[in-house]
């Protein structure tokens, strides 16, 4: 079981690296690759990361990256994979990638409230809730239900899968937080929020020019 866990973790990291390369290709070449082609490309790239390449490297590339990043949260993995590999929208149109701004803001607010305390500010440690707090599980489930009610079913499904993964001990961690949040998700949400604010400001400025009294 423990060996399978390591294999799964390396597979996840390989697919994640492949998905990031596919995303970068689409962004750089401003091209929308068909879903099937993206999947095939990701599969080929994932193999490159998963198998040891020999030469001076004893381990697969994914193991080197995993050494630095640790295991990513299930929420990050599923958001990234589904957005890059499955979405049928134009990758150049960032507006079309529908992850509600409310979700991104929530991630930023939660992360900024969570990390300082979890990393040692004071005696209060919210990370401890992730081991055995019924209250915390309830809050996470209610948050996911709100996402579904707000018409973002993908978000609710992703969080449900994260809870499921935690309850069957899918990753090395026994802490629910590690299945829901990681620093990379926080950084992505933070930049997405900053991008959204700048876009709104630009739109407001443009509309101000249009309707300014002559």
């Amino acid at each position: 079981m423990k060996n399978i866990m390591q294999t799964i973790a390396l597979l996840e990291m390989s697919i994640t690296c492949a998905a990031l390369i596919v995303w970068a290709i689409q962004r750089n070449f401003e091209a929308q690759i068909p879903v099937a082609a993206r999947m095939i490309l990701a599969l080929l790239l994932a193999n490159l990361f998963y198998w040891p390449l020999g030469m001076f490297m004893q381990l697969p590339l994914a193991a080197y990256i995993r050494g630095v990043t640790g295991d990513l949260s299930v929420v990050t993995l599923l958001l990234l994979w589904s957005s890059v590999l499955l979405d049928r929208v134009d990758p150049r149109n960032t507006e079309a990638h529908f992850v509600p701004i409310g979700f991104k803001v929530s991630i930023v607010v939660i992360a900024f409230g969570f990390y300082p305390f979890a990393l040692g500010v004071g005696m209060f440690d919210p990370y401890g809730w992730g081991y055995a707090s019924i209250g915390f599980l309830m809050v996470v489930s209610i948050f996911a239900a709100i996402l579904a009610i707000a018409n973002w079913t993908k978000g609710a499904l992703i969080i449900a899968l994260a809870i499921l993964a935690w309850s069957i001990h899918w990753h090395e961690s026994a802490n629910l937080w590690d299945y829901l949040l990681d620093p990379f998700l926080m950084i992505w949400a933070l930049f997405a929020c900053i991008g959204a604010i700048r876009r709104k400001r630009r739109e407001r400025l443009q509309s101000g020019f249009l309707f300014r009294a002559g």
Partner: protein, 401 residues
């Protein structure tokens, strides 16, 4: 329709989550050792029978640098030591070594390699740059369990803890498993001090962080998983918590201080009254600490023993201190090493002590100038007697004043 499916799936996941929580073990009291009352008079009277401390060295592996030795008593009464050795601390060639001390012949066996960097990274499925700080413990199922630190990137602040177990008292080991202890890419959790046991046979592993914060935490370990953890200190001032248990619910933790230059360089203390579920900072022990590891043990007589560098800076003096539960002050009972009289460039480092007690035997190991590991075997009666002598001397000097 999709929304209903999503909500149903969420409900199913939440129910499974509840079932998972339901199987989570409740927090248990500390396991305490039975105390045997020590009669100071009898220790005075049996002076002739008290065995003097014996000193030797852990076997030489040929490595230029050795550090962070630890000990555990085996089922047959022998002693197994672990330490890390390599060309220098943090080098890629560092391995974790082990050797067994035979109490009948008073000799150490041949050293063996428990794990090296390459084996660790293959088993853990991730790149490992260096190894360190092995800490053994006795798991609930009777197996030996070894906790050690690995670093993938950066210095020791980037450490994570891994663990492996042995069913044959350390001859062979399982593949290591990673403990996940921090939400920020699992960075910066280290181990140095001995584990404690709870009455449900699970282990409590005192660990510490030294990245953004420098603080201690008690990890509750079930097999190779962290199932809970509690903060023992906060801020950037106390690492390497040493836990001495006073009762089923009460314990004290003594730390290595990491305070700034202008602050007091003494041993920070925390206390718990609920078996480690919450900890409160207490007044420092009035013993100088130069940001160096300490070790300690509670003897069956109830005497607390600490080994520490009792200096504000430097690690060139190492002493053994003791305190009876009824006494307010700690007494220095033995100066183990002292290079204070030498010129600064000639002074050697005596650091990272680790002490264990098994009945009447008390064993101490520590790094000797980073080149060797010294082992000293004490008789608990000798320690008790040395403490009584130190107390009497202290009382006499008080009277003289």
């Amino acid at each position: 329709m999709m929304r209903v499916v999503a909500l149903c799936f969420l409900l199913l996941a939440t129910v499974l989550g509840f079932l998972h929580l339901d199987s989570h073990p409740a927090w248990a009291p500390f396991q305490i050792q039975e105390l045997v009352s020590a009669d100071p008079e009898s220790s005075h009277n049996s002076k002739a029978g008290v065995v003097q401390p014996k000193s030797d060295w852990l076997p030489d592996t040929g490595a230029a640098s050795v550090h962070a030795a630890s000990l555990i008593t085996l089922k047959d009464g022998a002693l197994r030591a672990f330490w890390f050795a390599g060309s220098r601390e943090g080098a890629a060639d560092v391995v974790i070594n082990s050797a067994v001390f035979d109490p009948h012949t008073n000799t150490w066996g041949e050293p063996t390699v428990v794990i090296d960097r390459m084996t660790a990274e293959k088993s853990l499925g991730r790149y490992i740059a260096k190894l360190g700080n092995p800490v053994p413990a006795r798991a609930a199922d009777g197996q030996l369990q070894l906790f050690f630190v690995t670093v993938s990137i950066g210095g020791w602040a980037g450490s994570s803890i891994s663990t492996m177990s042995s069913a044959d008292e350390g001859l062979t080991w399982s593949k290591p498993q990673r403990l996940i202890t921090s939400p920020f890419t699992n960075l910066s959790t280290l181990v140095k001090t001995p584990a404690i046991s709870f009455t449900d046979s699970r282990l409590g592993l005192p660990a510490y962080h030294e990245w953004i914060g420098k603080f201690g935490e008690l990890l509750r370990i079930d097999g190779d998983q962290v199932i809970d953890k509690r903060r023992m200190s906060s801020g950037r001032s106390a690492i390497q918590p040493l836990v001495l248990i006073d009762g089923p619910e009460k314990a004290h933790a003594y730390f290595r201080q990491t305070r700034g230059g202008s602050q007091v360089h003494q041993i920070p203390v925390s206390e718990t009254q609920n078996a480690g579920q919450s900890w409160q900072a207490q007044a420092d022990l009035p013993i100088a600490n130069p940001n160096a590891a300490i070790t300690g043990v509670l003897l069956p007589s109830g005497l607390r023993v600490l080994v520490a560098n009792d200096l504000e800076s430097g690690r060139d003096r190492l002493v053994m201190l003791a305190q009876d539960h009824s006494a307010a002050q700690w007494q220095i009972i033995d100066v183990l090493e002292d290079d204070e009289a030498l010129a600064p460039e000639q002074r050697r480092e005596f650091s990272y002590p680790y002490i264990v007690a098994n009945g009447a035997q008390v064993d101490l190991v520590y790094t000797w100038d980073r080149k060797k590991i010294r082992h000293i075997r004490f008789d608990a009666g000798w320690i008790q007697q040395a403490y009584s002598n130190a107390q009497a001397k202290s009382a006499n000097s008080e009277e003289a004043k």
